[in-house]
């Protein structure tokens, strides 16, 4: 497993990453979310050894992460780029060889992946002849083709059509099934929600939330919606709850004292009919908005 321990990175006076610690588990997909400039790319560059942390350290299976370890990682940098004027298959073979594959293995893996992304017919084209979305697919292939020991992907899904997103998810899943840790950043929260086993939320260089989706939800306040026959204004006076909103017969409340939710239905029935009493499960975007606010 890959762990960051109190990592800080400064650029001059600016602090890009501030005392961040987290662990990426093998066999799991970890989503890395945060606004532009939150420090995701800087963090990933420190994992890959492109940047040195100003403070803190990284470990790989409990011992300090070395350059040799990172050489076995698959990396998709934020700034995309391959050789525009070279044939697609040729440059994938080259990038495979750079990543310790034999020429033959690199060739097989490149063709196999191109086939999976529906680009088998274009392998002898120059890269620049491809659409941006297709160039992105080639870039992804370059990161995953060598069966790396970890995958660090900066915005792998940006610019992909739904079909490519599915193919990409499929490919990433085969890698988590091999038991390697996968970390990818994304702005598409629904996608992260769908794919990830675990989430890291970064805001202004600080890690503001982390854990599995359920853990994040468990950490969020218990919220209930209640709809009654009369005016719901009375919920404001019920002890142990915080009333967020009252709109005629409907109210939205957070439970501040555990167990207080049990008193609500009874109190409602004492005053009239109870039409609805339900737990409101926050979506990931709501959790995100809450923790980054």
């Amino acid at each position: 497993m890959l762990a960051l321990h109190h990592i800080t990175r400064r650029f001059g006076a600016a602090v890009a990453v501030d005392d961040v610690s987290f662990t990426i588990t093998p066999g799991a997909m970890t989503g890395f979310v945060g606004a532009n400039g939150a420090g995701k790319t800087t963090t990933m560059r420190m994992i890959m050894g492109v940047l040195e942390p100003s403070a803190g350290g990284l470990t790989w299976y409990g011992r300090p992460l070395t350059r040799a370890d990172a050489e076995d990682f698959g990396y998709m940098p934020e700034e995309r780029g391959l050789y525009p004027k070279q044939r697609i298959l040729d440059q994938l073979i080259y990038l495979g060889e750079i990543q310790k594959m034999t020429r033959g293995d690199a060739r097989r893996a490149a063709i196999d992946h191109l086939d999976r992304f529906g680009l088998a017919g274009r392998m002898h084209d120059h890269l620049e002849a491809l659409s941006l979305g297709n160039q992105q697919r080639v870039q992804i292939i370059a990161a995953v083709m060598s069966a790396p020991t970890a995958l660090i992907l900066d915005e792998p899904f940006s610019g992909l059509d739904p079909g490519a997103v599915d193919a990409m998810s499929e490919v990433l899943r085969t890698h988590t099934e091999r038991g390697i840790p996968v970390l990818f950043s994304s702005h598409q929260l629904d996608l992260v929600d769908r794919l990830c086993d675990s989430l890291l939320i970064l805001s202004h260089g600080r890690l503001v939330a982390s854990g599995s989706e359920d853990q994040l939800r468990a950490g969020a306040p218990h919220r209930y919606r209640i709809r009654v026959s009369g005016d719901a204004g009375w919920v404001r006076d019920v002890p142990g709850i915080a009333c967020l909103d009252v709109d005629g017969t409907t109210a939205l409340v957070d439970i501040t004292t555990p167990g207080a939710e049990l008193t609500l239905p009874r109190a409602a029935l004492d005053r009239g009919d109870l039409y609805e009493f339900a737990r409101v499960v926050p979506s990931l975007s709501e959790i995100y908005r809450e923790v980054t606010a």
Partner: protein, 406 residues
């Protein structure tokens, strides 16, 4: 950490050294690049045409027909013909034939009708060469020489002595303190210098461009995380050096083969040694310069910046070129022939001149190699520190002072 510690996956072995992979890509990218292939073919074509002209000229024979009326004149023409065969002349050989006619009038008619190029007559007052217009300068020269020799030999015999005795002590020996540079050595040296200069500049700029293109397209981030920067640098330098030396071997080989078919065939064997030295020095000097070029590419972040970061290098290359060509013979030449890069031009020139002993090129080579290693280190440092600069060009001071590690 809540999960139990496992062992990290073992590092995968590398099937081949990264620099080899990089070097092979550089070579393959060039060999499949139309511009490179076409320009090489055009150069080969130009050399082929020049060589072809030499070969054709060498095999061309012109014939001068000389009308004669007696045996003495015929013997002189035969002597001239023999002398001309021993003396190779640029532009082919000339044969001298005689046409024997009975009378002076018949000989004059032959010349007037253009059936003979000239008429060689001998009378009591001496020799006369008659042509419609002035006979060819070489014909006059050769005939004059042979006639003078024969007549003087006859006169000497009549005076009871020999031509050799008469000539004794008339030779003027020319000696110089500095050792004169022969015309041929100067020509060969100039050709070497020009080849070195041109390929150092064209390949140098290509190396710088190939580095900046990787920066510009950002593939460098993938490369620099997968292999050590030094290996990337070595691969680029060695791949391009192999290409440049390959081109040189092709060009000089073609030139030597061509020369061996020309009238200069005799000097090819003596040139081959100088050319071998030239290639060795080219290899060392080029590799050393290539590292600096790679660094100058790394200091730029866009193709447009290359001009600014590589300007000083172009000057250094140019100064080395002119210094090597125009330094006067003597102490300065000897000193400069040990200075890296300049030595790549000057030392082969001194070797072609024959005024350098065997250990001098060896020392110059060692100096160049040491310089090359130092340049690789320096280039690597510049390269690392400037690799991630993606906007504008980097000043030399920034490049040296960079703190980000790769």
């Amino acid at each position: 950490m809540t999960t139990p510690e496992q062992l990290p996956p073992p590092h995968r072995p590398r099937p081949s050294a990264p620099w080899q992979v990089v070097a092979r890509r550089e070579v393959m990218a060039k060999l499949t690049d139309r511009t490179f292939v076409v320009s090489t073919l055009v150069s080969v074509l130009i050399i082929g045409v020049i060589v072809g002209i030499q070969v054709v000229l060498a095999q061309r024979t012109t014939t001068e027909t000389i009308a004669v009326t007696d045996d003495r004149a015929a013997a002189v023409v035969a002597g001239v013909d023999a002398a001309a065969q021993e003396m190779p002349v640029l532009g082919g050989r000339t044969r001298y034939e005689t046409v024997r006619v009975a009378s002076d009038a018949a000989a004059r008619t032959l010349v007037a009708d253009d059936d003979a190029d000239a008429y060689l007559a001998v009378g009591p007052d001496g020799w006369t060469l008659l042509g419609r217009s002035a006979p060819a300068a070489t014909t006059q020269l050769f005939l004059g020489q042979v006639i003078a020799d024969q007549t003087m030999a006859d006169n000497a015999a009549r005076a009871g002595t020999s031509l050799e005795t008469l000539r004794q002590g008339t030779d003027l020996q020319v000696e110089t303190l500095d050792g004169a540079r022969s015309g041929l050595a100067t020509g060969v040296g100039f050709a070497f210098a020009l080849l070195f200069y041109m390929s150092a500049l064209t390949f140098g700029i290509q190396i710088a461009t190939s580095v900046v293109e990787e920066k510009q397209s950002r593939i460098v981030e993938i490369l620099a995380t997968a292999i050590p920067v030094r290996q990337l640098l070595y691969g680029k330098v060695l791949g391009n050096t192999a290409l440049a030396v390959g081109q040189m071997v092709l060009y000089t080989g073609l030139g030597l083969v061509g020369l061996s078919f020309s009238n200069y065939a005799g000097i090819v064997s003596s040139l081959a040694g100088s050319v071998a030295w030239f290639l060795v020095f080219f290899l060392a000097g080029f590799a050393a310069l290539a590292c600096v070029w790679a660094a100058s590419g790394a200091m730029a972040s866009r193709n447009e910046d290359i001009g600014a970061t590589s300007g000083p290098l172009m000057w250094v290359t140019m100064i080395a070129f002119f210094a090597a060509l125009f330094v006067p013979d003597g102490l300065w030449q000897q000193l400069l022939s040990y200075v890296p890069v300049v030595s790549s031009i000057l030392m082969p020139m001194r070797l072609a001149d024959g005024n350098a002993t065997w250990w001098e090129p060896v020392i110059a080579l060692l100096v160049t190699l040491a310089f090359g290693v130092a340049m690789v280190r320096l280039g690597e440092r510049l390269y690392r520190n400037s690799l991630y600069h993606t906007s504008g060009k980097l000043s030399l001071r920034q490049a040296f002072a960079g703190t980000d590690q790769v």
